[in-house]
Amino acid sequence: MWFTLDNLATAHDTHEGAAHSSTGLSNVKLGMWLFLGTECLLFGGLISTYMLYRGRVGTGPRPSQVFDIPFTSVSSFVLLMSSLTMVLAVSAAHKRDDRSTNLWLVITALLGTTFVGGQVYEFTAFYNEGMGFSTSLFSSSFFVLTGFHGVHVTVGIIMLLALRGMLKNNKVPGSRSETVEMIGLYWHFVDIVWIIIFTLIYLIPA
């Protein structure tokens, strides 16, 4: 999990000695893509677990009894919006427009925070409705999958805010626009994963 945060660090951990790159991609970008590739398998494993167990509710509530599709649709939309603002931040960074970069980073973080706030609300509501973490196989695999995603979003928010702080204090070593772009990549990935999760968990009836 923490590794995603570490990408912030890798973002400028390039080895300066190697000015050329055999593939044309920068080391950081190539590394980030690889990392996202490994993340695909992580979520793949979790999603498979959920798909296997989603019908096994024991005496607990079933998915359709607790899911609040309108609400989750709205929160998914919010997360998608944040991808848009992230794009704005990256493009501002490429234009070396510090003010806009900062602004859109914060807005993205706020939208992400809204999403996570919604998730915390959703979890609390589920808990009150009788679906705790260990109630059934369905609930455990649901909480693990969406919880992992939530943690990824939270890590992303911390990265965004930290990046904002570093930009302000002029502490980003290496290329600014590339650092913003890297965090953008991560953020988009997390959003895409959510689209898949949302479709598989909430929309396709089990």
Binding site: P61, P70, V116, Y121
Partner: protein, 371 residues
């Protein structure tokens, strides 16, 4: 190697670590004490490390003290330490949360204050001193501040959401997101906007959110959630033919993986049949091993909603009083299936067999044999 100051701090760190260990081992480890003590260990070890590495209080021979200009900078940490102390006092008589907040504030002040004091004596160059301070503390401050900020926002927001009704929740949610985006848009298209105005908006919004969160906490959760929590809907099943308000709240669904099931019970044309893993053909009885969780699947192929009810004998609850052991699936509609795990601890006796049946459908049952 060790300066007098660092020796003293090493001793304090060691003592706090020992007390933490003793506390965890001997006293019943509660979150409160453990957090306080582990926080103390963390803070003192950090300060000790700084003292050791900066060689504070030790002037190497042949070098003059670096600091020549001594101008104390204004600091907020004394104030925070004092506030923390009062929180601790309040906390001891009220709730542990306040106590912990106080402890955290005191420890934070302790660390920040010490490091600041040290860094200021490092040289006469103030920006250089600030650089040293940042190098030590920025890695700690950045993530903690970000995490605390996020946590406060998320927590307040989720409390608000819990307090209002479901529909209003979704609306509030989208309104909040829209407002955030619009404000962002507004600021970005108006570059001449004053920084103070932007800050003011942010502060007002933050205070408003936290205020609303606290208010919602006081208000509590919305009614249906409170009711749901109190009634604990899902802990008792209602196995009749009728729909239960809570147990059968949703629509039915299918099971994603059926490979592990021992038997599949099917309702087709008003007839109940069993298909048993490994045995060809339809059965009217299944053999379930004693004390062994056996997974069966109930599949409804008839029009209408039915549930499968398992009667698993009687349980002695007092002398002469016994109650039926019953478990069941929910009401599922045509084409749906549901999983049921049976664990039967006592062998079936002839004359009073265990059965699987459909409430509201007479004359159809599957005998469960437990050897």
């Amino acid at each position: 190697m060790f300066t007098p100051g660092s020796k003293y701090l090493i001793a304090i760190t060691g003592l706090s670590a020992v007390s933490f260990a003793l506390y965890m081992l001997l006293v019943h480890p509660s979150a409160l004490g453990a957090v306080a003590l582990i926080g103390l260990v963390a803070a003192t070890s950090l300060i000790t490390g700084v003292a050791l590495f900066t060689r504070d209080g030790h002037t190497p021979e042949g070098q003059t003290s670096a600091a020549t200009v001594d101008t104390p900078t204004p600091s907020m940490w004394p104030l925070i330490a004092a506030a923390g102390l009062s929180l601790v006092l309040v906390g001891t008589v009220t709730t542990p949360i306040v106590f912990i907040l106080g402890i955290v504030a005191i420890l934070a002040a302790l660390v920040e204050w010490t490091v600041q004091a040290w860094s200021e004596s490092a040289s006469g160059d103030r920006s250089y001193n600030e650089g040293i301070r940042e190098r030590i503390l920025n890695p700690v401050e950045y993530p903690i501040l970000a995490a605390v900020g996020i946590a406060v926002i998320i927590f307040s927001f989720s409390r608000v959401m819990l307090a209002i009704s479901k529909d209003a929740g979704a609306i509030i949610f989208i309104v909040a997101a829209a407002v955030i985006s619009l404000v962002g848009l507004l600021i970005s298209v108006r570059p001449q906007l004053k920084k103070s105005i932007v800050s003011a908006i942010a502060v007002v919004a933050a205070i408003g959110l936290v205020g609303a969160g606290i208010a919602s906490m006081g208000f509590g959760m919305r009614e249906d959630l409170v009711v749901a929590a109190e009634e604990d809907h899902y802990s008792h099943q209602e196995c009749g033919a009728e729909k239960s308000d809570h147990f059968d709240k949703g629509v039915s669904e299918t099971i994603s993986a059926t490979s592990g099931a021992d038997a599949t019970i099917e309702l087709l044309d008003g007839k109940l049949t069993a298909q048993v893993q490994g045995i060809e053909g339809l059965q009217d009885s299944i053999t379930v091993r004693r004390s062994n969780p056996s997974n069966i699947i109930f599949r409804n192929k008839d029009a209408g909603e039915f549930r499968l009810k398992a009667y698993l004998g009687k349980k002695q609850i007092a002398d002469g009083v016994s109650e039926d052991l019953i478990t069941c699936t929910q009401l599922i509609s045509e084409g749906a299936e549901q999983w049921l795990t049976l664990t039967i601890n006592k062998p079936s006796v002839s004359g009073e067999p265990y059965t699987l049946s459909i409430p509201g459908l007479e004359g159809q049952s599957i005998v469960v044999v437990v050897p």
